[in-house]
Every structure is written in C-alpha cells, then in structure tokens.
C-alpha cells in the first residue's frame, strides 16, 4: 500500500506475420506499459504502421472537424454501442450527416458575414440621412471634387474664399455638423486644406442609389430575412447534435482506438522479419500476458522476463520504471492529492495512505462542527450525482470523508452551527453555579454537556468550547503533537527512501537528525511546561547530538541552515488551531449578531426571545443564514487548503520527490467508454 505495484521488465519478440493479432491482443489486455524504441541500435529499425493507418487518421480528422462545428464536448456516456454498429453507420455519419453539418455550418458563417457587412453599411449610411441629397448625387462626377464628412465649425465663408464656385449642403448630426461640399476638381487641394482647418473628418459614402432612409430600410429588411434563414439552420445543427452526439463520440473512440493500434509499431523495434516490444508489466500479471499472447500468435512469439540485475542496468541508463499506485478503494481518492504534487518514483513511497490517515483528521479538526459537517456532506452527495468525471468524483470523495470527520470533531467540540446555539438547546448545558465553580478552579473547558451524561473525558474537557482559554492552550498542544507525529512519519519514510536508493550518508546524517530534532525538541518543551528538568536536559542533549550529526552530514555546517526550517515546520501546525478558531469566531459572531444584537434591537430592546417581533426574527435569520453561508464556503476552502499545505510543505519535504517525479503506468490499450466490449 505504501509502495507502488511491483513491476517486471519484459521483452516480446515475434515474427512479423503475427504483428496484427499481437497488437490486437495487447490492446485488449491493457497490461503492457510500452517503452518506446528510440532507434539507437543499428540492427533494428523503428517499426512502420500496419493496416489502414492513413484511412483511420483521415476519418478521424474529418470527424473531429464535424464535432468541432457541432461544438461537441466530451461527456459521460448515456448509451454504449457495439463496434459493428459503428462500422455500419460510420460511412453515413462521416459523409452524409457530416457533409450536411459542414454545409449548414458554412451557410451560417456566410449569413453572419453578410449580416455584419450590411450592419456596417447601415452604420455608414446613418450620418448621411441629415443631408437632403439622394445617394446617387455623391458619385460619378468628372469635373467636380466631393467632400463628405463632419466639421466642427462653419465652413461656408472659408470655402467661398478659395473656391468662389461651390455647392455646400449642411445638416446637424449628434456632436458635429455633417457637410457635403462640391467644388471644381482643380480647387480640390485648396478646399481640402481649408476643411482640415475646421476639423474635417471624412465619411465614406456607399455606392448606392435613391433616398438614404429607404436604403437603410432596405438593408434592415434584408438583415431580417437573413436572420430568419439562420434560426432554423442553428436549430438543425442542434438537432443533429442531439441525435448523433453519443454515436459521434463513440465513433471518435473507435477511430482513436484503431489509429492507436495501427500506429503502435512506431514504438516497436523491427527487422525485416521480426519485431521486438520492450515494456513493463505488474509482476503478478506476467504469466497471464505470456499465455494470452502466445495463444494469440500461435507459437510464433517469445515473451521473456528480464532478470532483475539486467533491468537495474537499464534503469541506470535512464529508463523510467512506471509507477502504478496500489491502494484500497477507500484510499484511492487521495491519490489525486499525491498526483497533484508528483507521481511517486518507482522506488519511492506512495504517500496516499498517509494522506488518507492524516488529511481528514486535520480537515475535521479545523472545521469541527456537526452542522457544517452534515451540510457539506449532503451538498456533496448532490454534487456527486452531477459531476461524474473521475477527477471530480475523487475530489468530492476526499472532501466527503473530511466532512464525516468534521462531524465527529463537532461532537467533541460541542458545536452545531457554531457555539452559543443549537448545542445548548438540544443537548443542554451546565447550570450557572457549576460554570462559576469550574472557572474559579481554572478548569473551565466549556459549558455544554452530552445530554444526561454530563461532561465527559479527563477533567470533563468534552465538549470542548474552542474559544475558552484552557481549550486554546490544550489545542495548541494537540496541534504541535499532531505535527510531530506527522513530520516524524515523514522523516522515517525519508530515511527508508534514501536507504532504498543506497545512499546511507543521506539517510543517517541528513534525515535521521531531523527526526531526532523534532522528537526531542518536543520532549524538551513538554519538560518546560511540566516543570520536569530532566526532560529538558534530555531533549537538549539530543538536540545537540542531532546538530552535530547534521554538521557531519553531506552538506557539512551548511546543514545547520535548515534547522530554522524544521522548527518553523512544527510551529506551522498551529494553523490546525488557528484556522479552526477563525471559523468558530465567525460562527460565534453570526449567532451573537442575530440572537443577541439584531433581534433584541429591532424588537425595541426585548430581553426574552418570546417578545421578539416577526420583523426582527426575519431580519435576524437573514443575517444569520448569510453569515453562516459565507462561513460554510470558507469552511470548505480553508480546511482543505491548509492540510494540503501541511502535507506538501511540512511532510513531503521530509521524504517525497527527492529525485523528481516518476512516470505513471499507462498500459497500451484504451478504456472503452462509448463502445461495448
């Protein structure tokens, strides 16, 4: 569980006659993680595609362009198809339906382009509407120069000065004056200079005829006609999408599988008459692979296992052994968190199990509220039906297990939607004089009780009111304690990892001192608190020993530079308390605000809940629900992010990914989603 699945290096060699059935069988078995042949041995060439590789990839490109036009997204399958149905319908789908889709899509694009050009035309015609001229009068002169546009100031006098012969039409537009100036062609440049002094900006005039208003109306009506044509086309595409969606995705899957198979030999080594496949397979599956392949190839094939020593040499030469994490189904979702950081290397530990142990406890300890826990659980139960992709399912499962722990811790903390509220009503609380007694004795841990059982635990600390001073001190201790355990487990794995790589110096002088430092620092601190000087002395001695070991380690005296980091690692676990306090604080504030501020105030200073007015109760509840809602959202986010950080920063740095990430085991084959097996 803490280790990835054991892998064996295998070589499959066979006659080229049987390459097709062998590839077919390998694809079906989905067992062999193929190591690509890189062509570095002169006696072997890189293999060539078999069968109709070209046709399949052409069909695939055609299909993908159709699905792109239909805006088809990958989704969870509604129904599955047998391969024979795909084969019989593929031709129709690609050629008839496909051609129809392409033609429709192209017509829609053409309509959209035409509508856009007509809208542009209308935009350039609109300013001309204020001038009294028909459209044909702007064009077709040999001896006249035409200027149409807007000016900022009156131009008549200045134009008349440079060109006594002129014709000027003006009309007022929104922010400027629209003008049309006609002058003899030989005065054009002078008039242009005069106009530019008046802030002239040219308007382009479309080459049309007739009245401006009727031209605009004509364009608008043709836009309407085009839009009317477009609507049924869009509906047609939507219908095609709805009707063929699953079939298209199934065909896509079929074609992808076929290309995968036909192009597989590109990853093999080949001679004129034989082929060789290198790969890794989970060790316990070897005999199955061997017998299945040999029966598929009818004896013209040899499947052999490479001895460990030889395999080791290949790894040293740079071959990556693929990693398949091996966890029970309850732990599987936590592989997501591991993968988000890095795939473990083959020789490393797979931390998913540790995350499964620590992550939900940390989540629960931070959130710790029966009400929030149950709410989150129910919401996730709904989301689980909605988001069905594996990634979302894993994430939802992770938070769901966390919410169960939050409910459990909520019982320890005596919180249902924060302190001061439902817990007291449902489970009851201590009588006033007992609270006073506890406070006087300095043993006040909260006022809630477990119904008739009263307060439980040593000194009666449960239900623990997290806002009480004693509880904060207790939780500080608990947080650091969890931190020491968490980090120590990391350190132990770190030592074992380095021993696994055969690097003893790193194991004993880099990782072991850290473990000693963490453990004995805690013992020293505990001694200080309990006033046991022998514990302080013992802790101090071993801290010194660990420092000396660090100096003797691979980094020399520089190793000491890491000590503040290890110290801050431990302090960092205080966040388990801190984020929790923030969340309790907000919930407390919400309850206080609603029940002790808003409701009494709006009821005119009523002291008893029976005297609250309806309005006060409604406003109070609104505030209550909204603040709790915000707290709930934060209550999913921070209890998730912070334990995540505690794993990534505080724990993983002790042992994980020292050599960089590994390669995920991805066997040759395809998981059928839309196709029947």
């Amino acid at each position: 569980m803490l280790r990835p699945v054991k892998m064996s290096r295998v070589v499959v060699a066979g006659s080229k006659d049987v390459i097709s059935p062998v590839v077919e069988k390998l694809h079906e078995l989905r067992l062999l993680h193929i190591v690509n042949y890189n062509g570095n041995q002169p006696q072997f060439e890189i293999g060539k595609p078999i069968g109709k590789a070209k046709e399949y990839s052409e069909d695939l490109i055609k299909l993908r362009s159709i699905t792109r036009y239909l805006d088809l997204k990958n989704k969870a399958p509604d129904k599955t198809f047998p391969e024979s149905q795909i084969l019989s319908e593929m031709d129709n789908l690609l050629n008839n339906v496909g051609a129809d889709v392409i033609a429709t899509y192209e017509r829609i694009t053409a309509i959209e382009a035409e509508v856009k050009s007509k809208q542009d035309l209308i935009r350039s015609l609109t300013p001309l509407a204020v001038l009294p001229l028909p459209l044909e009068s702007y064009h077709g002169y040999d001896s006249l120069a035409t200027f149409v546009g807007t000016v900022a100031t009156p131009i008549d006098a200045d134009v008349a000065r440079v060109s006594p012969v002129n014709e000027i039409y003006t009309g007022s537009a929104k922010n400027a004056t629209q003008v049309a100036v006609f002058v003899p062609a030989d005065k054009a440049s002078e008039v242009s200079a005069v106009l530019s002094e008046h802030g002239f900006s040219e308007t382009s005039v479309p080459k049309l005829e007739g009245n401006v208003d009727s031209a605009i109306a004509a364009q608008e009506s043709s836009i309407k006609t085009l839009e009317a044509e477009k609507a049924p086309l869009l509906k047609k595409l939507a219908d095609v999408k709805k009707q063929h969606e699953d079939l298209m995705l199934a065909t896509d899957e079929y074609l992808s599988m076929q290309t995968q198979k036909t192009e597989a030999p590109l990853r093999f080594a080949e001679t004129d008459n034989a082929f060789v496949i290198d790969g890794y397979i989970p060790s316990d599956q070897f005999s199955r692979l061997k017998s299945e392949l040999e029966s598929a190839a009818g004896g013209k094939l040899e499947v052999s296992l490479i001895a460990d020593k030889e395999a080791e040499e290949l790894v040293e030469k740079g071959e990556d052994v693929p990693t398949q994490m091996d966890n029970p189904s309850l732990v599987k979702p936590y592989e997501l968190i591991t993968k988000l950081f890095a795939i473990p290397e083959y020789k490393e530990f797979d931390p998913s199990l540790l995350i499964f142990v620590f992550f939900p406890i940390m989540f629960g300890m931070i959130l710790g509220d029966v009400g929030y826990g149950i709410m989150i659980f129910l919401v996730l139960l709904l989301l689980k039906k909605k988001f069905r992709t594996p990634g979302w399912q894993q994430l939802i499962n992770v938070v769901m297990i966390g919410s169960v722990w939050a409910t459990i811790f909520g019982i320890f903390f005596g919180e249902i939607f924060g302190p001061l509220g439902l817990w007291g009503r449902i489970m009851g609380h201590l009588p006033e004089h007992e609270i006073e007694l506890a406070k006087e004795a300095g043993l006040y841990f909260g006022e809630g009780v477990f119904g008739s059982l009263g307060r439980l635990g040593p000194l009666g600390i449960f239900p623990l009111d997290r806002l009480a001073t004693n509880a904060v001190l207790l939780l500080i201790g608990t947080s650091i304690f969890i931190g020491v355990i968490h980090c120590s487990v990391g350190s132990i794995l770190g030592i074992k990892t380095f021993l696994g790589y055969g690097e003893k110096k790193h194991a004993y002088f880099e990782k072991l001192p850290v473990l000693l430092f963490q453990v004995f620092l805690t013992i020293a601190l505990l001694g200080l608190i309990m006033g046991q000087m022998w514990m302080v002395a013992l802790g101090g001695i071993f801290i010194l020993v660990s420092m000396v070991m660090l100096v003797m380690g691979p980094e020399g005296p520089m190793g000491l530079a890491h000590v503040p980091f290890y110290l801050s690692n431990l302090v960092s676990y205080l966040r388990l308390l801190a984020i929790g306090l923030a969340s309790v604080g907000l919930a407390y504030a919400a309850n206080q605000l609603a029940f002790y501020v808003i409701m009494p105030m709006l009821s005119g200073g009523a002291k008893d809940s029976a005297e609250f007015t309806t309005l006060a109760i409604i406003v109070g509840l609104l505030v209550l629900v909204s603040v709790h809602f915000i707290n709930l959202l934060l209550g999913i986010l921070s209890p998730f992010m912070h334990p995540l950080r505690l794993h990534y920063v505080e724990m993983f740095t002790k042992f994980y990914s020292n050599k960089g990430g590994g390669v995920e085991y991805s066997p040759f084959g395809h998981v059928r989603r839309f196709l029947k097996a």
């Binding site: 950081f341 904060v472 205080l574 995540l644 950080r645 990534y648 920063v649």
Partner: protein, 88 residues
C-alpha cells in the same frame, strides 16, 4: 510622578500587541505570496501539471502568519508574568 497602569489598560495594550503581531505578519505574508502567486498562475497557464508544486511554493510564506499568531496566542493566553495581573 509615577505612571501607574491598571490591569484593564495593561490588558488592552496586550490585545493591541497581539493584534499587531498577527496583522503585520499577515501583511508580510500577503506581500510574499503576491509575487509567487502571479508567477505560479503564469506557469500553470503554460503547464497545468505544475499546479501542485505551484501551490506548494505559493503556500510557503503562509507560515509567517502562523508565527505572528503564535506570538499573539502567547501574549493573550500563555504569558504567565501577566496572567496574574490581567485575569480578573
């Protein structure tokens, strides 16, 4: 004339100190995360696989707030020389 502070104002000063410790540490951590966060978003846009390591880097400065918070907690709850004065 001797300055005499009563328990109430001492407690008030402690609270102000505790608030400053957490608040200023928060500002510092925020400033640290600002640059890292922007860089991580940039890298993740190019290479989505970097998200986990990016988060790791981005969350590093967050410990600073916890230091501030630890100081606050000590001030408010655990500093015994004052505990006798301030607890009524």
């Amino acid at each position: 004339m001797a300055v005499v502070a009563d328990a109430g104002s001492l407690y008030g000063l402690l609270a102000v100190g505790a608030g400053l410790a957490t608040g200023l540490a928060g500002i510092g951590a925020g400033m640290g995360e600002q640059g890292i966060g922007a860089a991580v978003v940039g890298v993740v846009a190019e290479e989505p696989g970097f998200l986990g390591k990016g988060l790791f880097l981005m969350l590093l400065p967050e410990t600073l707030i916890i230091f501030g918070l630890a100081v606050s907690l000590i001030l408010m709850f655990a500093w015994t020389p004052f505990a006798g004065i301030v607890t009524p």
